[in-house]
Symmetry: C2
Subunit: 302 residues, 2 copies
């Protein structure tokens, strides 16, 4: 049997909030995700990932979940060469920066932040992808639909967890420099955002999408929060992760109703306005029921 022996590599998307910005742990000048090969002595893929990240960054990891596995082909022979198993990890930032550094994930994919601001979508991306859609008369209708769904055009809602689909579309259109289709466009038209080594930006998009989806049905945000926090800080964190704003009062109602948090009794007066109560995550809830996440109150109006 022509069974193929390949090397296996672990790849980690490690997320933390730094200065109220969602960041990802990267290494090197051209950013790359922490990674390392599977080696003898590793008892599991998860343990191996932990070991590599901790060795490369001097940081302890909390939450860690498997993302996706894909195969790297040998370019010349189109033969499997190595297997990459990617993981998503959540932590709180520590004082020492270790070897690696935190990089704001909206510097790496600015189009994922739709909070009031750049106008990047309207000004740059929408025209480009729509032009691409029309450029092939046969598939135009289908392509238009795809653009509308992934980027929330034509009355479609913006869906935060379609991050991967959006990256794939930009890649296909050639709007990111790492795409083979990028030569078709003048460099000035490319979408801003720092590129990464290999297909790491794609893996990052996968992690982003997974995190945004997961947050909605499992209480994982708290892995990113300090021990004590105000509801506003929690909201800011979720808004930063989702890249969109939510209705404050409804958000509070949702969180309190679910009994995800409890008051510590202390207050935080450094808010600039009325002092806010401090809360902590009720860890017991993980054992008391199969707790849901923090659904973001949506807006009706488009």
């Amino acid at each position: 049997m022509d069974r193929q022996a390949v090397s296996a590599e672990l790849l980690a998307v490690i997320v933390a909030m730094v200065d109220d910005q969602p960041c990802v742990l990267t290494l090197g000048a051209v950013p790359r995700l922490p990674a390392g090969p599977l080696m003898p002595g590793h008892r599991s893929l998860q343990a191996a990932t932990r070991a590599w990240v901790e060795e490369q960054t001097g940081r302890r990891l909390g939450y860690l979940e498997q993302l996706y596995t894909f195969v790297d082909l040998d370019v010349a022979q189109a033969t499997p060469r190595s297997l990459s198993v990617s993981y998503l990890g959540l932590t709180t930032p520590t004082a020492d920066t270790g070897i690696g550094g935190w990089r704001a994930w909206y510097d790496l994919m600015p189009w994922e932040d739709t909070r009031p601001g750049t106008g990047l979508l309207e000004a740059r991306i929408t025209p480009s992808i729509l032009a691409w859609a029309e450029s092939d008369p046969v598939q135009a209708a289908e392509r238009r639909q795809r653009c509308a769904i992934t980027f929330g055009l034509a009355g479609q809602p913006w869906q935060t967890d379609l991050a991967l689909q959006r990256y794939e579309l930009l890649y296909e259109v050639g709007l990111v420099p790492e795409s083979p289709a990028a030569w078709r466009l003048p460099e000035a038209q490319l979408v801003p955002g720092e590129r990464m080594v290999g297909d790491h930006r794609r893996v990052l998009a996968t992690g982003l999408a997974r995190l945004r989806a997961k947050i909605q049905y499992r209480p994982v945000v708290f892995e990113l929060m300090a021990q004590e926090f105000t509801l506003r800080q929690l909201q800011d964190c979720l808004e930063a992760l989702a890249g969109k704003a939510v209705h404050t009062q409804n958000f509070r109602r949702l969180v309190e109703q679910q009994a995800l948090v409890e008051e510590t009794g202390a207050m935080d007066a450094s808010t600039g306005g009325r002092p806010a109560r401090l809360y902590r995550f009720r860890r017991e809830i993980l054992q008391q029921r199969h707790a849901a996440g923090t659904k973001l109150p949506t807006t009706r109006g488009r």
Copy 2:
């Protein structure tokens, strides 16, 4: 660098409805999942899985999605030996059975079917796991909670998509024969259900859980249905997958409201009662919006 070369194996949980029973494709006398190594010439993991399943069973696959990747350890040296990438696939059964055969998944894990019937849970499982919980005074409270959540005891609702957690609990308690803890119990106390090769039953549980979860937020059931079907057949299918019954009228309202299906105009008179309209899945919806799945109407009372 002591980089480890391992072999990679693909493993597939292929599901179809056969005679209104959810079944999984297995091979061999002691059931095992279709599998095969990653080989030169395979362009992707997904393609490799397709190839293997089609070769081993002579069956074309429709939907296919990656489940999970884990590493098999060399028992003696605790060194990684091979990587298994598991997939979940959905099809409709064809007339020819190929080499493999369909096996009802509730024969493999009877406890996952809670529709009126066996009383397996109350009579056999609940007492055993509660006894296990109490057997360690220190962890008793915690264990009791875990049992209650995973198996829906003490007022907790039964959650269909905790199939993996339930299997893991049974494994830990030693109620399944493949568990190393099974020696502690007399064989008559073991939970019924055919065992599988290696840890395939665990992989099956993973697939089951994923399918049950996925059905709720993406319209994948239709991959298991015939071209045309009555709403009752659709409901039967979902009930069989979820292993629990739902309120018929509300189910119909949910499905129609979402515009997931459209009438074909034809009727099916073979129902035994009033003839039912035939429907088909509106495939367009996949392109028109990011369509949701068929949420199962819940019941308030426990």
